[in-house]
Amino acid sequence: MSLRQETLWIEKYRPKTLDELIDQEEVVEGLRKLLSEVREMPHLLFAGPPGTGKTTTALIIARHLYGELWRDYTLELNASDERGINVIRERVKVFSQYFTPTEKIPFKLVILDEADMMTSEAQTALRRIMEINSGVTRFILICNYLTRIISPIQSRCAIFRFRGIPREDVIKYLARICDEEGVKYTEDVLELIYDYSRGDLRRAINLLQSAAGVGGGEIKAEHVEELVGKVTPKVISDLVDYIRAGDFYKARHLLFDFKSGSGLDGQEIIRLIMNGLVEKKMLNTEMAQILAEYEYRLLNGTYEEIQLTALLAALISSVKKAGGGS
């Protein structure tokens, strides 16, 4: 594997110590207290908007606890990838088996990202897993919305709230990256990137790196704008064009090409279509109702092929009714 993590700037410039972490003073202060007495560390729950440093902080804690060997003692799971609570149970069980706590290493660490994607039943089961394994394992749960985490779990964790990173700090950080990479920039263009990413540092850095790639070592506003368009994949934008033109067969073909290649589920695709419609200024209330209806249907476990094609049909009919192709 020739690929190194450093190829992506989000990895290369991911802070490695609490000191490097930007702007989350309250969190950092609280964590320092907790980490001064490692053996007493409770389960942790990090909540806050995307790209504010939750995962980064969890990784910093892992490094703090175990040094360079942190990977041996840390299990990173993603609730939205692991299909059932059983998978989590099995992996946590295997992970904490054959482990005897020592003076230096009193427990292993499980980082569970996107914990708010779990159903409340799964969370109830997770709570049990946390209890059963708490002798030898600590959990760091990460979520966007604290309200989606059931209260028995909240009450078992020390909760840290991460807030969106302020404009000046994001821009300072982006400027630092540009300097180290030898990339030319203006203050204005970094402001633009901030506007598009709204405090989500991951998105901002991704955008910065792509723009630097396209611009050949210089960040230009036109490239940033062009790239932002890519938040909606080209295929979705084409798809929306076909919907507008009433070309059902072409739309269907694109849709399934995208679906089978990306492996995204129907719900995710409906949301992308929504973005595409917004971007082309086609979204009206009727269409929003249609999208909601079909996403709701998918939530009930209907056949994705059938419902997605029917969605296309419904959208096309709606366009036609509204006066066709304009």
Binding site: Q5, L8, G213, S260, G261, L272, R297, N300, A313
Partner: protein
């Protein structure tokens, strides 16, 4: 019931499927010698052609103690483990009773009836039990679905059983008739044999009915539990709306497949686009009604489905005839993007972990910006797909 009374006791008495039976015995010999790659055997074939009978007869002839569950038992992961988990090579009580060692044989009939909801984890449990017990394990199913039963197909040796020939059924019926001292003309027996369509159980039931004086004409071979392809053909040949409705009501188990196939048929019908849009909406409504019925267990709502589905079929038949083809559209893309999917799965195993994001976030937030940088040449097809899709 004659079907039970005349169930074969020894392997010699089992009619038909000679090749399948030979393969079965060979595999068991390999397995005993530790040479078999698979965990056990999976018998596949329509009902009433001797799968269950064969396993019973085999156990009897070769001295196994049969431990059996079928769809009438509750077969969740825990229920299966509780029932079968303790079975090991030396645990049977027969060792005490008969003095000689009789090995157990685990037989799970109708595994395609494992309910994905109620019998959650059942398939996994079957595999685990076969693996850990070291006991000969045989499964049987009417239809296997390559997707739903992937794990079974990969771990078990699949042996297909075929419908019996009319000649084989004739011989069977004649044997029973003579043992029961029946006086039935050969022509009548031939008629039953042909109407039974390869299903011995149906044939024996018909014979028994005739013996008590029923007329054969009112006993059309049952329209229940038809194999899927027959079911579809009958739907498309049905003379009336009522007939379609009756067929569906008698084969509720086929409704999920029926909905999928109807979608495919509709998609390739070539009908006018405006009609197509309406048909698709209608079908999606049917689909969601079916889900509601299942999810909320509101069986009373089935009566509406029994109107909507036949109605849909009756009208869509005008545009297209049913051929036994692989559902074309789904399959086409599945094959076309095969390489892309394989490479995507590889990449998704590795990369999101490396960048500490979920697979979903990786696909939607990282890849669109960086596929050129992070997808190397081994994932060329996936990279090309990305550039086509993400631009």
């Amino acid at each position: 019931m004659w079907t039970e009374k005349y169930r074969p006791k020894t392997v010699e008495e089992v009619i038909g499927n000679e090749k399948a039976k030979r393969i079965f015995i060979n595999w068991v010999n390999d397995w005993k010698a530790g040479k078999a790659k698979e965990l056990g055997i999976l018998l596949v074939g329509p009902p009433g052609i001797g799968k269950t009978s064969w396993v019973h007869a085999f156990a009897n002839s070769y001295g196994y103690t049969l431990i059996e569950t079928n769809a009438s038992d509750y077969r969740s992961q825990s229920a299966l483990k509780e029932r079968l988990g303790h079975v090991t090579k030396v645990s049977t009580l027969d060792t005490f009773f008969y003095g000689k060692r009789k090995e157990p044989l685990i037989f799970l009939d109708e595994v395609d009836g494992l309910d994905p909801k109620r019998d959650r984890g059942g398939i996994q449990a079957v595999i685990e039990i076969a693996k850990s017990s070291g006991v000969l394990t045989v499964l049987a199913a009417n239809i296997i679905d390559p997707k739903q039963h992937k794990d079974l197909i990969e771990n078990f040796y699949v042996i297909e059983f075929h419908p019996l020939t009319p000649r084989q059924i004739e011989l069977l019926l004649k044997r029973i008739a003579s043992e029961e001292n029946l006086d039935i003309p050969d022509s009548k027996i031939r008629e039953i044999a042909s109407k039974a369509k390869g299903d011995a159980r149906t044939a024996i039931n018909m014979l028994q009915s005739i013996a008590v004086g029923m007329e054969i004409s009112i006993m059309e071979p049952t329209i229940e539990n038809l194999p899927f392809s027959t079911f579809m053909k009958r739907l498309f040949e049905a003379a009336s709306y009522e007939e379609i409705s009756t067929l569906i009501q008698s084969n509720i188990n086929h409704i999920p497949d029926l909905i999928q196939v109807l979608w495919d048929i509709t998609m390739r019908s070539g009908m006018d686009i405006n009609f197509l849009l309406d048909y698709l909406k209608e079908l999606s409504e049917i689909d969601i009604l079916w889900r509601k019925i299942n999810l909320e267990r509101k069986w009373g709502l089935l009566r509406y489905l029994f109107v909507l589905l036949p109605n849909y079929i009756y009208r869509v038949r005008r545009y297209i005839t049913y051929e036994e083809k692989i559902p074309e559209y789904r399959f086409y893309l599945f094959v076309k993007n095969r390489k892309v999917r394989e490479q995507r799965d590889e990449a998704l195993e590795l990369l999101p972990r490396l960048f500490h994001v979920s697979k979903r976030k990786f696909m939607t937030e990282v890849l669109p910006y960086s596929y050129n940088v992070i997808l190397h040449d081994a994932w060329k097809d996936f990279r090309e797909w990305c550039s086509r899709v993400y631009g």
